[in-house]
């Protein structure tokens, strides 16, 4: 079996999802039997224009980055969006709730008009080019990433959960975050994380994006039951859920 020639590229993000690849430790050595990394700027000095798989981390926030992304898409047979910034825009999209000129002035003051500081509303990778697979989460789960890579190498279709975090949270026997008077996005957020945040005493903030057909009525019932309003919910949804509203 020929190894998949793979390149990793980063756009606007914290590079924490690439870090999860390092964090697989010995398991990386195993993946290297299936994958031949040809470009990975954070880890390697090698560069290549010849790759089968392009893995994209980060969001697009500038015109020049959009051009770079399209060039990568043209060269790659398979394109994978890695992590929330790439799959749904992540926290970068909080910016889209403000006027761009105002955001620039807030951060750069009198220098905001300088051309090298330009920015536009954040876009997820799929808003610009076709995405073949998504690795969800902020950060991604290394195990899930490894599974997806193995599936690709073996020509199988990876199975990504399309049920809410509540399913995994219940299996962990956690007390519901709503019982603590908190707002939790578990009822509408895609599972696959093992309900990591609620299991650590934190509400789910929706970093894996919403399930394809969220049961909004059931979520509303939960909200009503615990005396929470849509305003309470939207304040939390804004963190990772901007422009995903359906």
């Amino acid at each position: 079996m020929a190894k998949l020639k793979t390149a990793i590229f980063d756009f606007a993000c914290c590079e924490g999802c690439q870090l999860q690849i390092y964090n697989m430790e010995e398991e990386i050595l195993d993946l290297l039997t299936l994958v031949h990394p040809v470009e990975w700027r954070e880890a390697m000095s090698d560069q290549s224009e010849d790759y089968d798989v392009a893995i994209i981390e980060g969001s697009v926030t500038r015109r020049e980055d959009e051009k770079r992304l399209k060039e990568i898409r043209e060269k790659a047979k398979i394109l994978i969006a890695l992590g929330a910034c790439a799959t749904i825009g992540g926290v970068n999209k909080i910016k889209n709730h403000f006027e761009m000129e105002e955001v620039k002035a807030c951060v750069y003051g009198d220098d905001a008009r300088r051309p090298h500081l330009n920015t536009y509303p954040t876009k997820a990778v799929g808003e610009i080019v076709k995405v073949n697979y998504m690795v969800h989460g902020c950060p991604i789960d290394g195990e899930e990433f490894a599974t997806i890579v193995r599936c690709l190498a073996m020509g199988k279709e990876p199975k990504i959960p399309n049920y809410p975090v509540c399913v995994e949270c219940k299996m962990k026997e956690n007390v519901c975050r709503f019982e603590y008077g908190e707002i939790c996005l578990g009822p509408i957020t895609r599972a696959g994380c093992g309900a990591k945040c609620p299991s650590s005493g934190m509400w789910c903030f929706g970093c894996r994006g919403f399930v394809d057909n969220p049961n909004v009525n059931a979520a509303k019932d939960v909200m009503d039951q615990y005396g929470k309003t849509i305003d309470d919910l939207s304040g939390k949804m804004l963190l990772f859920g901007t422009e995903q509203e359906q």
Partner: protein, 432 residues
């Protein structure tokens, strides 16, 4: 014919974020050398406005994957300062301990995965798997220690979830802390082995001194990453972190989307070497012994020695971490439910990221919604110093082969362990 050197490195590899190097020289004379930062700015200070104090940590942790614990801690300390929240001794110790996990994870990532290939003449760690399998396995074990350490206390490796204003959402069990203690003790031989390897390669680090101002946190009575005042190697003054703006003096330059900083000179440096130069007297025994083995002494001003200072600090955080663990396990972990009532106020949180001192300032309204933020990142503070190093270093190496010049300039950038995507967030807000 005149010998021309023309170097253009677009996106330096094996660093976090995007930076470029430009150099032009003719007949052994450097005409132009520049360190550029083209990273896409992400505008965190604008984005946190209007968000609740309980969501700030979740957002700003995403400034940097490699220093997510550090950003979370700086934000939480800033919120606590703004709202007058006191934390227990147990919370304080657990936070310092969790923060140490990130220091070792980041330092090992840098020295092991990003710098070691330069010293062993390779383009990445991947060929080292075959050529130096034992070294790679040692690096992997130490890296995993840092990650497990953060996971046990912070809930996960990157972007911690248990840290919150006032304390913790969930406390680690004593059983988990005992497990961590065992792992830390087991790591000491690995760390000694890694120090030996780096020592054997230390002659590959270029010999380049440039008198530099170093800035770090200092005090109380141990080698600090978490508490203390701002100090400089240029003065005896101790500046409270609440006054950090008069230290960093940020300004915009055309070659960078991150602002530059200066205090007593045109530039200053932060990071492991800065902390060492200011606090080396407080090192724990193994850390002091490691520094001695390398001949690293206070007053060192070769930027490449930052990599050595990072190895010294790995010993420091393991040794002091073990002391803290013993104290915590002796008193036992006590449940401490956290209830914070938001109130209006403004505050600053400062901690040492693995790559240098970090500042967060926030203001909140009476319901605890953020009204203003200002974040000043260590790599942002180092950018001007990297440029000044370039200007001094390039003429010294300009007679060498073009590829070698290029590699040496890249190594110089890497020695700072830059976190460039972090550094392109800064603010120019006047707080009233």
């Amino acid at each position: 014919m005149a010998k021309r050197v023309d170097i253009s490195v677009h996106h330096v590899t094996r660093v976090e974020g995007h930076g470029n190097i430009r150099l032009r020289a003719s007949d052994g004379k450097v005409e132009h050398v520049e360190w550029q930062v083209p990273e896409a700015p992400r505008f965190f200070e604008a984005m946190v406005r209007g968000r609740s104090f309980e969501d700030i940590q979740t957002i700003v942790s995403r400034i940097c994957g490699i220093c997510s614990v550090t950003h979370s801690m700086a934000a939480i300390k800033g919120i606590e300062d703004a709202m007058g929240i006191e934390v227990s001794e147990q919370t304080d110790k657990l936070r310092i301990l969790c923060h140490y996990g990130e220091q070792i994870e980041s330092h090992i990532l840098h020295v092991g995965y990003l710098v070691a290939p330069d010293l062993l003449g390779q383009k990445s760690v991947i060929p080292l798997v075959k050529s130096h399998p034992d070294v790679v396995k040692t690096i992997i074990r130490l890296h995993r220690l840092g990650n497990t350490w953060m996971e046990i206390i912070g809930g996960r490796m990157t972007h911690p979830v248990t840290l919150k204003p006032g304390g913790f959402t969930v406390l680690p069990t004593e059983e988990k802390l005992r497990q961590l203690k065992g792992m830390m003790e087991d790591a000491i031989p690995d760390l000694k082995a890694l120090a030996e390897v780096v020592l054997g390669l230390a002659d590959k680090l270029p010999d380049f001194d440039r008198d530099t101002e170093y800035i770090a946190l200092s005090g109380p009575d141990y080698y600090t990453f978490y508490h203390g005042d701002i100090v400089s190697t240029d003065t005896d003054e101790k500046v409270p972190v609440q006054e950090f703006e008069r230290v960093v003096n940020e300004y915009v330059v055309a070659q960078s989307t991150a602002k530059w900083c200066k205090w007593h000179r045109d530039s200053y440096a932060v990071g492991a070497l800065a902390r060492f130069n200011l606090n080396a007297d407080l090192l724990t025994p193994l850390a002091a012994q490691t520094a001695k083995a390398f001949g690293l002494k206070k007053g060192a001003c070769n930027p490449f020695l930052n990599n050595v200072a990072q190895v010294v600090e790995c010993a420091q955080v393991i040794e002091h971490g073990l002391e803290l663990l013993d104290e915590l396990l002796t008193t036992g972990i006590k449940p401490e439910p956290v209830k914070v009532e938001p109130k209006t106020g403004e505050g600053v949180g400062s901690v040492e990221a693995p790559r240098g001192i970090l500042f967060h300032r926030y203001a909140f309204d009476e319901k605890g919604f953020c009204t203003k933020a200002n974040i000043c990142i260590p790599t942002g503070q180092n950018h001007a110093n990297i440029q000044k190093d370039f200007e001094a270093f390039a003429p010294q190496i300009i007679d060498r082969d073009q590829d070698e010049i290029r590699l040496l300039l890249e190594m110089l950038v890497r020695s700072y362990d830059p976190c460039i995507s972090c550094s392109t967030h800064y603010l120019n807000v006047e707080f009233v």
